[in-house]
């Protein structure tokens, strides 16, 4: 798996020649904005992720660093869970923050939380990578009963933000098996076929469970 670095997403950018560096210098653009106040406390940091993204969009590297400090552990945890390999997960997080840096202006706080936006970047990268190159470690077979979502203790759920707790409320309304399969598909980044093989459940059943669950979630979360 040593070829990951060379073939990963945008990593050829690192070799972009002097012309681009020259452009950076000649653009006269201030790289670090003097007006930016780095995120202070943890609680404030969470509230400020949206503002940090907006500061990133104006080229503020310290904002990107603050955002990284506040969100990278969560995103790294997510990538590790999906990819099952540290090296690959590190590269995805790296790659994702470069995308965040380039695309921060496209984030619209009116449409959702910064964390959900960041997570969708990381997950999309993860899924592209495992579809094309596989994981570092294969998935093992598991029964629906034995499969556990990453966190489900009431204490942890209480700490979730509003959007996340709404989602959990809606998930709780689903039947156990469809709910677990939906979460498995999400947290493992697997296809219907992989889920069916892994659980020993017919493909049609898995597909119907997930599709039905998605519809019910959509209606519940409206």
């Amino acid at each position: 798996m040593s070829s990951h670095k060379a073939s990963l997403g945008r990593s050829w950018q690192a070799e972009t020649p002097a012309t681009v560096v020259r452009l950076l210098q000649s653009s006269g653009k201030q790289v670090v904005s003097p007006t930016h106040r780095p995120a202070a406390s943890d609680a404030e940091g969470t509230l400020n992720r949206e503002a940090l993204l907006q500061a990133c969009a104006s080229g503020d590297q310290t904002a990107l660093h603050s955002l990284y400090m506040g969100t990278a552990p969560q995103l790294f945890g997510l990538a590790l869970r999906i990819l099952r390999g540290r090296e690959l997960a590190e590269e995805i997080v790296q790659d994702s923050f470069l995308i965040v840096w380039r695309q921060a202006h496209a984030f619209d706080p009116a449409r959702g939380s910064a964390m959900a936006w960041l997570a969708s970047i990381v997950r999309n990268r993860c899924i592209d990578v495992i579809r094309q190159r596989g994981r570092d470690r294969p998935l093992d077979d598991v029964s629906i009963e034995d499969w556990e979502a990453p966190v489900s203790s009431p204490a942890d759920l209480a700490a979730l933000n509003r959007g996340a707790s709404r989602l959990h409320d809606c998930l709780a309304e689903l039947e156990e098996q469809p709910r677990k399969v939906l979460m498995m598909v999400y947290y493992e980044g697997i296809t219907y076929k992989e889920a069916a093989g892994r659980l020993g459940v017919p493909l049609g059943t898995v597909t119907n469970w997930v599709r039905e669950s998605l519809l019910r979630l959509r209606d519940c979360m409206e």
Binding site: T19, R22, L24, C56, L75, S120, R123, S152, H168
Partner: protein, 275 residues
């Protein structure tokens, strides 16, 4: 193939794309659909925001320090991100095009570059390519030149303008034929762009001499030999005849700013072939 009109199916596919259950070819296909369909992109984004609240339940794991170091190193070697499109975004993108590629150095320089590009194009064919194929390519080029010569007074459905899009190393990555009369633009990717495409697309832009740029669409593939034909509205075709083409690397679905937001990979000005 997807029934574009069925709203339930569209939403189901958007959800499955966001959830990540699609296979790799299905993902690519869906991304191509998304690139032409803003409403579909909105559906996907809605699902991403809904489902990705699940990400907050994952136990956090501290990434090693070198991950940030590498991010900091890489953002230091590339231009600052495009600012919000409402402000200086357009200006920035175009400055970059301008400086990076020297689009408007004059017809003489471009003509020289094009001639060089054609030679390079033949020279750059992989060594395993058989001589007869090279001969075939040269014959085809010759034929095309002859046909151009015969068309001095231009007949409809023959190109009136051509462009060779060069990358930073002056390699002829893409060729373009434009017929202003019927608005037909034929693009052919000649060489593989220098990266793999896990979730990015090639977006084609019209860059006017006054510095404005607009998207002409997403190029469908990164495979050399891929040809795509676009039919442009008459005024766009006329504008393009006096403009340049640029191809940038954009996130799946295309640039979200309406301007090139990723690196510009190759570019070339249109030249009239009615001499």
């Amino acid at each position: 193939m997807m029934n574009h009109a069925d709203p339930e199916l569209r939403d189901q596919l958007a959800a499955e794309y966001a959830l990540g259950t699609l296979s790799s070819p299905e993902r690519r296909r869906f991304e191509r659909l998304m690139s032409h369909d803003r409403d579909l992109r909105d559906l996907v984004q809605g699902w991403e925001l809904r489902l990705n609240a699940l990400a907050e339940s994952v136990p956090p794991v501290e990434p090693p320090a070198h991950v940030w170091d590498e991010i900091a190193r890489r953002i230091a070697t590339e231009p600052s991100p495009a600012p919000a499109p409402a402000s200086a975004g357009k200006r920035w993108s175009l400055d970059r095009l301008w400086d990076n590629l020297g689009l408007w150095r004059g017809a003489a320089a471009l003509a020289t570059a094009t001639a060089a590009a054609l030679v390079l194009y033949v020279a750059l064919l992989p060594p395993r390519v058989q001589l007869e194929r090279i001969a075939g390519e040269i014959a085809a080029l010759g034929e095309r030149l002859a046909s151009v010569a015969r068309q001095v007074d231009a007949v409809a459905s023959r190109p009136t303008h051509v462009a060779v899009l060069l990358d930073k190393d002056q390699r002829p990555m893409m060729t373009a034929d434009l017929d202003v009369a019927d608005g037909r633009l034929l693009l052919r990717l000649n060489l593989t762009p220098p990266r793999d495409f896990t979730s990015d697309v090639l977006q084609v832009w019209l860059v006017s001499p006054d510095g404005t740029s607009r998207s002409l669409g997403i190029f469908p593939s990164e495979r050399p030999g891929t040809t795509t034909a676009l039919v442009l509205p008459h005024d766009t075709a006329e504008a393009l005849a006096k403009a340049a083409l640029a191809v940038s690397l954009e996130p799946r679905g295309g640039s979200m700013t309406g301007q090139p937001s990723g690196p510009v990979l190759f570019t070339g000005a249109l030249m009239s072939i009615r001499l």
